[in-house]
Symmetry: C2
């Protein structure tokens, strides 16, 4: 899916980082062992230390790499949209399984603040470039972008749960279409009528906070 590997890749350092990302994503930071990463990367634990110093530094390297990758994907999506190639734009945005779990974990561990903030800024740019019709809301753009980002991330974060609920492995082509269809349906139809929203808003006003 595009995104040629960095030149610095293919090296032992890159293999270690990729293995780390997989282990962190699958087992979480704490349960992941340097020895396990080393084994997956086909190197010794000593070499991991040599390249990254500590487990914590290794995580930072992974965070940086993910951030760079997301930026690149965003740029590619803009390019595809400028060319009017919607299919390509969708393909680029399609989440690549390798980063899914790592991002999900990282987000919940609280370590991916930079990534989240950047994605909110990206969402703001998208919402500005493609405003929905009849949009004269008093809700700040930033707020909508933030929730949009959270909703977008909810998919990779709960990927396994969603697959189970759908009854299909969403990482397969069939599952992918099912997921995209459902998302498109939800994105193009409001979940509440204007009346329901007004009623809820009114109910909100009379709310006691305890």
């Amino acid at each position: 899916m595009s995104s040629a590997p960095d030149p610095e890749d293919l090296t032992a350092r890159a293999r270690i980082r990729d293995a780390a990302m997989r282990h962190f994503g699958e087992h979480g930071f704490e349960r992941t062992t340097i020895r396990g990463i080393a084994e997956t990367a086909g190197v010794s634990s000593g070499l991991v230390r040599h390249h990254f110093g500590s487990k914590e530094e290794l995580r930072k390297a992974c965070d940086d790499y993910v951030l760079r990758t997301v930026r690149k994907l965003n740029d590619e999506t803009w390019a595809a949209m400028r060319e009017g190639d919607l299919g390509k734009a969708a393909a680029v945005r399609r989440p690549s399984g390798a980063y899914h779990r790592y991002i999900a974990r990282s987000l919940v561990d609280g370590g991916a603040s930079e990534l989240f903030d950047e994605m909110v800024r990206m969402s703001e740019a998208w919402l500005t470039a493609f405003p929905r019709e009849g949009a004269e809301s008093d809700v700040p753009l930033r707020d909508r972008a933030a929730i949009g980002t959270a909703w977008g991330l909810a998919i990779p974060i709960m990927f396994e749960h969603l697959s189970r609920a759908f009854g299909v492995d969403l990482s397969t082509p069939e599952g992918d279409v099912r997921l995209a269809s459902a998302l498109l349906d939800l994105y193009s139809h409001p979940l509440m009528s204007p009346e329901e929203a007004a009623a809820a808003r009114a109910g909100l006003k009379g709310l006691r906070h305890d």
Copy 2:
């Protein structure tokens, strides 16, 4: 916010479980130590073992408790809706901070499958009881309920990130209103126009899966 504590609470056993939920939620399962839980609960580590046998069993007890709590909240929401008390329904649904992080972690660790599945069933019931207008979609109810559940959970899961993006602590009354307003806005306005959705759907069809 309703939900009187279980009768079995107030005991050392309950204090341990509550402390465990806090520690698991804040630091994750692996990083949490039995000694730390014991200290927070004001008991010895030996007593934790006495009551729950092992760390894993303790986690299961937490999962059960959360599941029971979510069921109770759902029932209370139905009751409030039947009474037409929308404000109360909103108040009940308001996430209680104590379970937020625990649920978020649990969901990402893959341990809360039962909870997620139950919430999807609850969402199906809600979507059935309150169908949106003009709903003659070929997208299965279950699929929409699953994504709706994931979106709903995205808020507590990324609570800190959202607070940072909003520039307000969303657990405060002011933040709460900001969040609810934004959610209401997004729920009552489609993010895509029918034309955009159709174009995206068409783009999806011509997609190569690699």
